[in-house]
């Protein structure tokens, strides 16, 4: 893992701090009670469910720790975490069952 330049880190922290605040403030602070176009709201509704899986999918299929080699334990853990989350709607239950699957399989297959 290469070290990240501290200036870059600070640019990211300050940029994200300001950017995140503006995201939070824009509507409640500036829009006030004016209505927003439905098409915009319709797209905003799906930001988290689109971006998060897009971020994770390559990490699951080609994990960094195995230098990009697909890995049974990690794929299984991913499948379990996602399924438990869908079924139970409980984030913590999903995290724990995913972690248990990962450790269980890493131990068994080692």
């Amino acid at each position: 893992m290469t070290a990240i330049d501290p200036i870059t880190i600070w640019i990211i922290i300050v940029g994200l701090a300001i950017g995140s605040y503006l995201l939070r403030f824009t509507f409640i602070g500036l829009v006030g009670d004016r209505p927003m176009p439905p098409w915009l709201l319709r797209h905003l509704r799906y930001t988290a469910v689109a971006i998060l899986p897009a971020l994770i999918a390559p990490l699951v299929v080609w994990p960094t720790a195995t230098e990009g080699q697909p890995d049974v334990s990690r794929m299984a853990a991913a499948a379990v975490a996602l399924s438990v989350g869908v079924v139970t709607k409980n984030v913590l239950a999903a995290i724990f069952s995913g972690a248990a699957t990962l450790y269980g399989l890493l131990y068994l297959l080692a």
């Binding site: 922290i13 701090a17 509704r45 689109a50 990690r74 984030v91």
Partner: protein, 236 residues
Amino acid sequence: MAAATSKSYFWKGFRDGTPFVFVAVPFGLLFGVFATEAGLDIIQTMAFSATVFAGAAQFTALQLLQDNTPTVIVLISALAVNLRVAMYSASLTPYLGAAPLWQRALGAYLIVDQSYACSIVRFEKEPDMTVQQRMIYFVGSVTPITPLWILGTYLGAVLGTQIPESWALDFALPITFLSMIGPMMRTLAHVVAALVAIVVALLTVTVPFNLGLLIAGAAGMMAGAQAELMLERTKT
């Protein structure tokens, strides 16, 4: 009397927000560990959690930083992950938009998944609440979470360097995010958005600067919006 009611709304919010402590603490810990592993020092890690106050966006930024992604792309991608707080802000506006500007400016910083989730349920259930009561409830709901999120980050950052590689913490991020995604699959349109985003992300993985993430995110959002429209049409 007015003061007493305000106080009780604060505690109502506090009570409703308390279960989320069990999400905020482990998530903060995880971020502290992950940031330390990525090479951030404790001041950077703490500044990150305290000012950005958005776990998912923070994890995204760190992950991309490690892949040597250009700074601009890191910022855009992490903010895209955080676009949902803009959505929350928009959704809370009809309820809190009439509060004084300084309260809205302060409240904006506290818009997170948990405070939004509590507040919107309560506001819809009790339409007679005054704007002030709503604001107090909102602040109450996030009060148990904020200090513990920051404390969790600190503990993670302190413990982080002592955790051996065999713990496979590289996979803590995918598991945490996947676990968050599961409960978000409320409608068929959400599932469509996620599936399209996954397929496009895997197909665009060779696109430079991790731009594939933004392409896939945009594709997923459009797919979700279109699916919602189609589902509404078939219903009527």
